[in-house]
Structures are given as structure tokens and as C-alpha cells.
């Protein structure tokens, strides 16, 4: 075996600024950095003077893969971007293609997509808070939240067939409709949510150790946040209520009544608390959407457009037009008119945007994902410098860097 393995990165600095500082390497195979981030830090004792954050260890060639598949076939790739809230990615991508094609989804799809997007947001925030608390040592809170997240995974597996990477969105609608009893189980899970999250609040919110580790650590000002491109819970924790669901409403958000929680000073505690409050708001929205589904959400699920929706199987086996339609949709993909479009949704981490370029065929010319985690990593050094080495753990936990989204 070669004793000298190649170094995949070139650090920004290799010489110490002063004689009494050390340069250390943290990651990329490190529990605190979620396994895919490398930080080369210059330390003065325990204090970080300079930090150079390297991502890219999970770059899987999403954009190049998308150019080789049809518009429908690449939905599983889109799932694996932000894998903690995969449904939000599905629906953001599907809506981008639908807008370029000029398709408006049915009300039932609109309400269901909104409901599932909020459900996914809850799952994502649960994962983020659970991982952050576990890394600080609070195993009990981790086990409570992961238990709840498991209920959500099993429930979504009833609907979509998969626990984590659902591939449930389709251009023009959704893959299948709700099974019987799904909404009843949803209400049960929301009641469990209140119980479990209440316990976590009790364990952690006013805990001396938690406050000491999270308050006034990695503060971010609003001007800095907007300059470095932060969106989502991190921007909201600095005090500004910027939320794409309220500012540029899409799906059914215009009909819902919800607040946008904001923080005070943009430190780790604020980011934790903004996420907890956002979960409460999401649950409130889910309950409203269940009512809206009953009232106004009847009717067909998929839009009746043969350019993108697969025809009914009985028709496919019965008449030649549907057979050919089905064949063309599967083999060549839905024909999307030439042009480009950028659509941004409020993902769990911030502004999740898809920029697609079409030359009028069944396969995309370009699919670009504007990933919030990637942009957040660009400014992460601002939050790390000046703080202690041990503060990297809660800071990274509160940024919620998802590797699949950051590196794409």
C-alpha cells in the first residue's frame, strides 16, 4: 500500500500567522461536521483565529446526471439533494417544470403538496435538532425526537412506499392518492409530536448547560447574513421575518394562517428556538390543511394534461392513443417547451431554487439546484472565527448543513 495518499484539497493557508498558533485539520470524517465537511483551522489555544471550510466530499454529479435522464426520470436524483425533507425538493422541482410548461395543478394536489411539504419540514427540523442535541450530549432528547421521526417515516412509507427518499412528486400532480386512514394516523402523530416536543422543551430550554453552550455563540447580524446569502431559519434567527412562503406565496400558503418566528440576535440558541417554533407552526398549518382538504380538496389528483401525466392503465391497455402516449412519455419524457426558469421554494434550510433550461425535448439541457446549505457554508467561517474549538459542534448543528444539498 502506498504510504502517501493524495490530498484532495489545497488549504487556504499552510503557514501560521504567529509562532504560538497551531493549524489543525477537522474532518471530513468527523461526527461534528456531519461527515462531509473539512475545516482547516488555525488555533490559538482553544480559540479559532482563521477557519477554511471545505465542502465537496459528497459531490455526486447531480447536474451532469440530470442531463442524461428524462424530466421524470430524474425525480429520484432530486430527492437525494436534501434527503431529510425530500418531499420539498420533489415539489419544488415539479413546480419548476410545471411553470415552464404552463400547467396549473389541481386543488387537491395543491393542498396535499403543501401538507406534505410542511410534514417534511417537521421531519427535517426534528433531525436537525436531534442531531444538534445529541452532539451536545443530550442523548435522551435525541431518542425522543428520532422516535417521533420514525413514526413520520413509517407513515410516509404507507403513502409513498419509501421511508426516506420518496420520489412521490410527479410533473402534473402526485404519484398516488392518500390511502384510507392516513389522515387519522396523521392526527395521532401530531398529538404524539406535542407530547415528545414538550418533553424536549422541558429538558433543554432552560437548562444551564445548554444555555451556556448555545447563547451568544456564533452570533450573526442581519447585514452579514444577507450579504453572505443566508436564508431560511438562520436569517430569521437574526430578527428579520423573511420567508418565501409569506413573501412570494406558492402552493396553498396564501390560504393558510401562520406566523413566521424570528430570533433576537442570531446565535445558536435562537436558531434552535426558531426551528422548534417553526415546527409548531408547521403542525398548525398541517391541521388547517387537513380541514381544507376535506372542504375544497375533492376532485382529481393529477391534472388532465397528456403532455406529462401518464394515462390510466385501463386506457393504456384498451386504446392505441393512450398506449402511444404512455410509451412516448416513458421513453422520451414529457416535452417541455424551450426556455429557462428559476423557481424558489422555502426549503427547510432556506431558499431552495431550481434553474432549468430546456431546448424543447424530453431531457433537460440543464438542471441547476440553488442549494441553501452550499451558500451557508460560504459564510460559515464568519460564525466560527473568534469562538472556541468546542463551539464548532453546536454551530454546525444549528446551521443544518445537509451534505447532499451542499455538494449536489
Amino acid at each position: 500500500m502506498d504510504s502517501k495518499l493524495p490530498n484532495p484539497i489545497r488549504p487556504a493557508f499552510t503557514r501560521n500567522e504567529r509562532d504560538d498558533t497551531t493549524i489543525v485539520n477537522i474532518g471530513p470524517s468527523h461526527p461534528a461536521t456531519h461527515g462531509t465537511i473539512q475545516i482547516v483551522a488555525e488555533l490559538d489555544g482553544e480559540r479559532i483565529l482563521r477557519a477554511d471550510v471545505h465542502c465537496g466530499y459528497l459531490h455526486r454529479g447531480f447536474e451532469k446526471e440530470c442531463e442524461a435522464h428524462t424530466w421524470h426520470n430524474l425525480i429520484p436524483y432530486v430527492d437525494r439533494l436534501n434527503y431529510c425533507s425530500a418531499l420539498i425538493n420533489n415539489f419544488a422541482y415539479c413546480e419548476t417544470v410545471e411553470r415552464l410548461m404552463g400547467i396549473e395543478v389541481t386543488p387537491r394536489t395543491k393542498y396535499l403538496r403543501t401538507l406534505l411539504a410542511e410534514y417534511s419540514r417537521v421531519a427535517d427540523h426534528l433531525t436537525c435538532v436531534a442531531a444538534a442535541l445529541m452532539e451536545l450530549g443530550a442523548m435522551t432528547a435525541f431518542l425522543y425526537l428520532v422516535m417521533l421521526r420514525d413514526y413520520i417515516y413509517e407513515h410516509l412509507a404507507d403513502l409513498t412506499g419509501a421511508r426516506l427518499t420518496y420520489s412521490y412528486g410527479r410533473i402534473g400532480g402526485l404519484a398516488r392518492d392518500l390511502p384510507d386512514g392516513w389522515l387519522k394516523r396523521l392526527e395521532e402523530i401530531l398529538v404524539e409530536y406535542e407530547e415528545f416536543v414538550g418533553r424536549v422543551h422541558g429538558l433543554v430550554d432552560r437548562n444551564r448547560i445548554f444555555i451556556d453552550r448555545m447563547r451568544n455563540v456564533a452570533c450573526l447580524s442581519t447585514a452579514d447574513a444577507i450579504n453572505w446569502g443566508y436564508t431560511g431559519p438562520i436569517l430569521r434567527s437574526t430578527g428579520v421575518p423573511r420567508d418565501l412562503r409569506k413573501d412570494t406565496p406558492y402552493l396553498a400558503y396564501a390560504e393558510l394562517d401562520f406566523e413566521v418566528p424570528t430570533g433576537i440576535k442570531g446565535d445558536n440558541y435562537d436558531r434552535y428556538y426558531v426551528r422548534m417554533r417553526e415546527m409548531d407552526e408547521s403542525v398548525h398549518m398541517i391541521r388547517q390543511l387537513v380541514d381544507l382538504l376535506h372542504e375544497k380538496g375533492g376532485g382529481p389528483l393529477n391534472v388532465d394534461d397528456r403532455r406529462c401525466v401518464l394515462p390510466d392503465k385501463t386506457l393504456v391497455y384498451g386504446e392505441i392513443e393512450s398506449l402511444i402516449n404512455h410509451f412516448k412519455l416513458v421513453m422520451e419524457g414529457p416535452q417541455v417547451p424551450a426556455g429557462d426558469i428559476y423557481v424558489a421554494h422555502e426549503g427547510a434550510n432556506g431558499e431552495l431554487g431550481f434553474y432549468i433550461v430546456s431546448t424543447g425535448g424530453g431531457t433537460p439541457y440543464k438542471v441547476h439546484c440553488r442549494a441553501p446549505s452550499f451558500v451557508h457554508m460560504g459564510g460559515a467561517h464568519k460564525m466560527l472565527e473568534g469562538h472556541q474549538l468546542a463551539d464548532i459542534v453546536p454551530t454546525f448543528g444549528s446551521i443544518n448543513m445537509i451534505g447532499g444539498e451542499c455538494d449536489r
Partner: protein
Amino acid sequence: MTSPTIPIRPESQKSGAFEYICTRKDELIGWARKFSLFPYPFVTACCGMEFMSVSATPYDTDRFGAALPRFTPRQSDLLMVVGTITHKQAPVLLKVWEQMCEPKWVLAFGVCATSGGFYNNYAAVQGIDRIVPVDVYVPGCPPRPEMVIDGIMKLQEKIAGQQHLIVNDRF
């Protein structure tokens, strides 16, 4: 190198009592090693979420002795490669594997670690067995926690049936 199979010795070198003691010793050491696995979770991608699920309730790996992760390769014996390994990450994986001491086992968790998954492009390694030898492959995208537990149990069967050399290359 990692999973020594039991060699077939010629008749002249066999000694009944010695073989009997070796077998019993192998069973004992195998039993001890299989129920006290210390995984090194080399987590990169989506499979990491299922790894968290399988370590927590209700799918608990603690029942199998494989719960306590050791985040340093020097103290672990099971390298669980969870998620896609890209070419950028490959030197890191190889370095971590080389730093582990014998006996060590590798579990490829997820279809990306097994064969590259559906990322057939310039960035992903098409299966970590191109870099490190693998003992158990658990396919799935991501695998259900029950599959992971099945993989761990298969690994435990493998460890139980291996030859565990603790003194020299014969005993």
C-alpha cells in the same frame, strides 16, 4: 487480510487435540468479538438518516452489541461505510481503513457504497470494494433498518465462523 478463512492443512501437520482446542478457542473468541462490535460510522449521505434510525429506538443495534460507535479508527473494528463515497472522499476512506487494527470488518451500507448506486458518473466511486475489501453488502436506497440489522447478523455469523488467530499464525 481481514477475514482469514480456515486453511486446509495436510494430514501430516494435523494433531487432533490441537485442532480441537483451536476450534473451541475460535468459537469463544468469535462469540466475544461478534457481540461486541465497535462500529466506526463513516457517514456521508442519505443512508446516514437510516443509520440514525437503526441506532435509535425501535430498531436498536444495542441489542446486537453493535451500538457504541467509536469515532476513531484506532478503537473500532467495524467500518460501516454509510452513503456514497466520491473520488474526493476515497483517500480519506482508505486512510481511515488503514488506521484500523486487525481484526477489522467492513460493512457497505446502502447501494451507493455497494456499487455506486445510480450515480454512474465522474464523481462517485462505483462501489467501495474498489478501494477496501468488504465483508457484508447491504443494498437499498436507503436500506430499511431491518435490512441493516440482517446485515449485521450476517456479519456476526461470518465472524463466528472465522479463524481467530490470537497468539501466532497457527493459534
